[in-house]
């Protein structure tokens, strides 16, 4: 099975290639290719999942580039981590592709959209199955490219193209660290393969040296490389301080937000950390026996979780709330990996993929139904108009908040809180994450109250995306339910959000065991500690939802201009979080300013120094050619001309001798004859 694993990313890639050649009108072909390839990949993923269950881990490597004796190898690995990821990506991707048929039906660039979607799917799947850090990095960059193309899909809109650039550049900053770490790893361990029969970078053969050698600031090489690789994850998964691109990425179409910026691409950072976990966990010289790298990961994740959750409370754009929520949940995941190991983080990643995709698709349905309105202040009472959307959205919201027992978010978040409560170095993350969970419930309740309850406060169409054709000509004002092609994926995802949670309950931790590779057994009886944490998280959720209902749900919001309840309570605080703690403005004033100054300096240098040099040389050449012309014209030509002139003059002078008069000729003859005779008679005598 491992040998044909490469088909899983290749099928969408082929679909993307073929779609790129299609014409704009061949929509059905484009959609058919994309969905067909995803379907096949999903089938192959299920087969590979089954294979891992039966046979265990397998890897397939091959030589890629040969230099002299050594060679760069690439390969793919089939292990629980990659099997579960690949199944999740193909399933969620398939559902979102189907949804997009309905959502992008009015857009005239339908074909291009599906081409980019397939490209993204191919790159993401390639990233997941990669056995080589190099191949992973290649697919990492491809995923970033697909994200750029899709965020800036409506490129005529300046904010969209700016957001695409911002996403690419910010993730690039992280990728620089990633690449340096990659190179360092290669130089230290001689291989970039993860699993290579004992010699791979994540196996004992490769890791042995890294733990002992130390580098600057007393860090071991392992820690340094891990932190560098973590930089890439910080960029891609939107951890603080590189989180600024994710909210702006909401400029792209909603299916893009769902697929890339909720379920899959942003999860790639967490996946990377989970993948190279053996490297991160190598050095036990950190605080209290934990590795330094993992401590850093935990704190970054925790800070991100609380930071983003605070900002999400103050946002009014429906997609931005969800975007900050994603950032916050990614922080949860990172902290989970840092404290509890890859299984904990990956479980939350899996559940989050389902319910966040569901929430985004639901938001898309709301936006579509309210005629492209995105401000929650201008929505309201949509419970009546869009019942299916309301039901599925409610399921998603409860899963995200962590409503106990039925919804998957509860189980996965609980795992994280549980490992946080057991973390020896510090209780800080536990506090932060608990507060984050509370805030999550709070802002989701706020959002649901604003959108679904109360009176409809909308006024009609606001933003018309480029190339979309208005179809609602009959009743332009009332919101309507979305077509079945959009609601059925919502329903499937809602079911998934509920069911998947049961794979990882403390009673039967199937998923965690699967990831960590040991036997699954039913746990008989739960410890008191586990129950205490579960109780605490339930209480947090209850407090959050109640507070939200108290502030926003009790009295229905009357008009769009009505100020937010929190705003009334503490305007300064609310203003700060609404303006996203001014992080963007800070970056603009420092980094962006510096970079633009440098670029202006470089432009000046280019224009005046190098350009001047080039101009100088050009002038020099001109001068030389001018001198050459002078020489040619005045010295050579003139000399020649004058020479000919003088020649002609002398000839004219000589020709005056021939004046046509016979007597002159006779005289000359006589003289010549006389002289000749003289010469012959007496001249030769010696």
């Amino acid at each position: 099975m491992a040998k044909i694993l490469w088909l899983i990313p290749i099928l969408p890639l082929v679909a993307a290639a073929v779609t790129s050649l299609l014409r704009r009108e061949q929509r059905r072909a484009a959609a058919g290719l994309a969905i067909g390839s995803m379907l096949l990949s999903f089938a192959l993923s299920c087969a590979s999942f089954a294979s891992v269950l039966h046979e265990g881990k397998a890897a397939f490597n091959f030589d890629w580039l040969q230099f002299g004796d050594s060679s760069l190898k690439l390969g793919w690995v089939l292990d629980p981590l990659s099997a579960s990821m690949v199944t999740m990506v193909t399933l969620v991707g398939l559902l979102i592709f189907i949804y997009s048929i309905g959502y992008m039906a009015h857009d005239e660039n339908f074909t291009r959209f599906f081409c980019f979607l397939s490209l993204f799917a191919a790159a993401m799947l390639g990233l997941v199955i990669a056995n080589s850090l190099l191949l992973l990095f290649i697919c990492w960059e491809l995923v970033g490219l697909a994200s750029y193309l899709l965020i800036g899909f409506w490129y005529h809109k300046p904010s969209a193209s700016a957001a695409a650039k911002k996403a690419f550049i910010v993730t690039r900053i992280g990728d620089v660290g990633f690449f340096i770490g990659l190179l360092w790893l290669y130089s230290q361990s001689g291989t970039l393969l993860f699993y290579d029969g004992g010699n791979g970078a994540l196996e004992t053969g490769g890791l042995s040296k890294l733990a002992t050698t130390t580098t600057l600031a007393g860090m071991t090489v392992a820690t340094a490389i891990s932190l560098l690789i973590f930089c890439g994850a910080v960029g891609k998964s939107g951890q603080v301080p590189l989180h600024v691109w994710l909210p702006d990425a909401m400029e792209g179409p909603t299916p893009v937000s769902a697929l890339i910026h909720a379920a899959t691409m942003v999860a790639a950072g967490v996946f990377l950390v989970a993948r190279v976990y053996p490297l991160l966990d190598l050095d036990p010289s950190g605080l209290l026996g934990r590795s330094t790298a993992l401590i850093v990961v935990t704190w970054v994740g925790s800070i991100t979780a609380i930071f983003a959750a605070l900002i999400a409370v103050g946002q009014n754009d429906i997609k931005r709330i969800l975007a900050y929520s994603t950032v916050s949940q990614l922080g949860f995941m990172m902290a989970g990996v840092g404290m509890g190991g890859p299984a904990v983080g990956m479980f939350h990643l899996m559940t989050h993929a389902f319910f966040k995709a569901l929430l985004f698709l639901g938001a898309g349905s709301l936006i579509h139904g309210c005629h492209e309105e995105q401000d929650i202040a201008r929505m309201g009472g949509l419970r009546k108009f869009m019942p299916i959307t309301f039901a599925t959205y409610a399921v998603g919201m409860m899963a995200l908040s962590g409503v106990p027992l039925l919804f998957s978010g509860f189980w996965s978040k609980d795992e994280i809180l549980h490992s946080a409560s057991n973390w020896e170095p510090s209780r800080g993350p536990f506090m932060l994450l608990a507060l984050g969970a509370l805030l999550t419930a709070f802002y989701m309740t706020r959002q649901v109250c604003y959108v679904f309850f109360g009176k409809y406060r909308g006024e009609g169409t606001y933003f018309q995306p480029e190339g979309s054709v208005a179809t609602h000509g009959v009743t332009p004002r009332e919101p309507h339910e979305s077509p079945p092609v959009m609601t059925w994926p919502l329903i499937v995802l809602a079911v998934g959000s509920v069911l998947i949670g049961f794979l990882g309950t403390p009673l039967w931790p199937w998923f965690q065991s699967f990831i960590e590779g040991h036997e699954v057994r039913l746990v008989h009886g739960l410890s008191l500690h586990v129950l205490a944490v579960m109780g605490l998280s339930t209480a947090l959720v209850a407090i959050g939802i109640t507070t939200g209902w108290w502030l926003y749900g009790r009295q229905p919001i009357e008009s769009a201009q009505q100020p937010d309840a929190l705003d009334l309570w503490n305007p300064a605080f609310f203003g700060a979080i609404r303006r996203r703690f001014l992080v963007d403005e800070f970056y603009d004033g420092t980094v962006v300013r510096l970079v633009s100054f440098l670029s202006r300096a470089a432009d000046w240098l280019d224009r005046f120094v190098w350009g001047g040099l080039v101009s100088l040389i050009a002038w020099l050449v001109l001068g030389l050619s001018w001198i050459d012309r002078l020489i040619d014209e005045f010295i050579i030509n003139l000399g020649f001309n004058k020479g000919s002139e003088s020649f002609r003059e002398s000839a004219r002078y000589l020709s005056r001798f021939q004046n046509g008069r016979v007597q002159r000729y006779l005289r000359v003859l006589g003289l010549a004859l006389t002289m000749l005779a003289f010469f012959f008679l007496w001249g030769c005598r010696t």
């Binding site: 005289r667 005779a677 008679l681």
Partner: protein
């Protein structure tokens, strides 16, 4: 040398000089005739009687008359017939002629031939001349005849054509 030689030589040279320097062309032509006559006398002294006769017949009897005719036919209003030449021209011409004379005289003076003894005069009768013409010199004779014919025709043509064209 006999005193007659000097007289005849002097006459010849004198008339030659005069022929070349007089203003009136007709006088020049007539003095030329005198020169020819003097030459004939010199031939007689040199025991070339036939040549002297031929000289008198042809040169004086034909060529001189021809020259006179030509002078008369080409006379314009100016009777002097000669525009004066610049002094430089005269001097240079005289100098060239003088140079030629000096060269010739010097050649004569320095040659060995003149120191040899003069042989006795040989008779050159008309009979001998005729025999020579018919025997050894028959080809030149015929050619000269041809030449004379051509000259006759040519002169006639040249003189005749002009007259026709001018009419």
């Amino acid at each position: 040398m006999h005193w007659s030689f000097y007289i005849v030589a002097g006459l010849t040279i004198g008339s030659a000089i005069a022929a070349m320097s007089l203003r009136n062309i007709v006088h020049c032509a007539l003095l030329l005739t005198v020169t020819f006559a003097g030459l004939a006398l010199l031939y007689l002294q040199l025991n070339a009687q036939f040549v002297a006769l031929a000289q008198m017949l042809i040169y004086i009897g034909a060529v001189a008359i021809l020259i006179v005719f030509a002078i008369l036919l080409t006379r314009s209003s100016e009777t002097t017939g000669d525009s004066p030449l610049s002094l430089a021209g005269v001097v240079s011409g005289v100098l060239i002629a003088l140079a030629a004379f000096v060269t010739l005289a010097r050649a004569v003076a320095s040659s060995a031939l003149i120191r040899q003894a003069s042989p006795a005069p040989v008779p050159a009768s008309v009979r001998q001349i005729g025999q020579e013409l018919m025997k050894n010199y028959v080809l030149p004779l015929e050619i000269v005849a041809l030449l004379l014919t051509a000259a006759l025709i040519g002169a006639a043509v040249i003189a005749l054509q002009e007259r026709r064209r001018s009419e």
